[in-house]
């Protein structure tokens, strides 16, 4: 399989997509294109195989957000910049279950993090946040996402990854490449 990850296009085949989770399937089939092109509330990137370049095998959706500084509890704002906190939201990430176990989730997350760094370089952002299903929180934790405490007991777990950590990973990568 030669997988390419690119932005969702209008005539991509999404109807057959099945990751086993109806809200995630439904988002791709009904809302992803509209949200990207018409109402501009999220950009979806899809993984496709070169042999069937229109068939979506997996996807993720990104948006930016920010937290106004005045919303942070006073005792914590001292360590923060004197501006609103810009961040990237990894709103959704899903892989068609017929292609699970082939590293597609890893490839999608890898691209999402690289885009995060590009956005951080170009317009600035401090971290990437995701809403992980409780049974997927461990998977995100392997990549260094830390739980944001204080959410609802049931339901998705907000998780945090610092852009500086992602940068360090990139420099570890280049220093390990230099050693080779």
């Amino acid at each position: 399989m030669a997988v390419t990850i690119r932005r969702l296009e209008e005539f991509d085949e999404v109807e057959g997509f099945d990751c086993g989770d109806e809200p995630l399937n439904n988002y791709l089939k009904r809302h992803a294109w509209t949200n990207q092109q018409k109402v501009s509330i999220g950009v979806t990137y899809v993984a496709v195989d070169e042999s069937a370049p229109r068939t979506v095998l997996g996807y993720f959706t990104l948006a930016t957000s920010s937290v106004p500084r005045e919303r942070f509890p006073k005792k914590f704002v001292r360590g923060l910049p004197t501006y609103d906190l810009p961040l990237i939201l990894l709103a959704r990430l899903a892989v068609d279950k017929r292609f699970s176990g082939r590293g597609l989730g890893h490839a999608l997350l890898s691209d999402a993090l690289k885009i995060t760094l590009r956005v951080a370089d170009e317009v600035g952002c401090r971290c990437i946040i995701t809403d992980a299903y409780p049974d997927k929180a461990g998977w995100y934790a392997r990549y260094g996402f830390l739980p944001i405490e204080g959410g609802a007991a049931a339901g998705p777990q907000k998780m945090f990854l610092d852009v500086r950590t992602i940068r360090r990973a990139l420099s570890s990568e280049s220093s390990s490449a230099e050693r080779k």
Binding site: R7, P73, G79, S110, Y143, G151, T165, S174
Partner: protein, 137 residues
């Protein structure tokens, strides 16, 4: 003398069928003296003798650069000391995808904001092996 009559019953021998060959296109360019000299120097450095090979290699390199930039990848050179330079080539930027992402509001509880502030104001964590692998991909 009677006029010569062609024997129509005899079929003319079929012409030999040539296998279709891809037509080669000639490429001609008007180069400024400095560019011409650059081509000559590069050909010498790369030990190339033909302009065709030169153009073919240049095309392959340009094609790669376009495909990388189309995917949003940046083209970076890195020195042995780790100093990085990013290639900024205006024509390549035309194919680069926009990275502008739309802005959304997230609902936060007070406790989540406390936790977020604590994480964001602290020292960044060391990258995990999985994260390093992801960035290497």
């Amino acid at each position: 003398m009677p006029p010569a009559i062609k024997d129509k019953s005899k079929k003319a021998a079929p012409l030999p069928v040539k296998a279709p060959t891809a037509r080669k296109t000639k490429f001609q360019a008007d180069l400024a003296p400095s560019e011409d000299s650059m081509v000559r120097i590069l050909k010498t450095e790369l030990q190339m003798t033909s302009n065709t090979d030169f153009l073919s290699d240049a095309l392959a390199l340009f094609r790669w650069a376009v495909s990388e930039r189309k995917r949003g990848h940046r083209i970076v050179s890195e020195s042995s000391t780790g100093e990085r330079k990013i290639l900024l080539f205006p024509r390549l930027e035309r194919v680069a995808p926009e990275v502008t992402l739309p802005h959304v509001d997230i609902r936060w509880t007070e406790k989540e904001l406390e936790s977020l502030a604590e994480l964001a104001s602290g020292q960044p964590a060391e990258p995990t092996d999985a994260l390093i692998r992801a960035m290497r991909q």
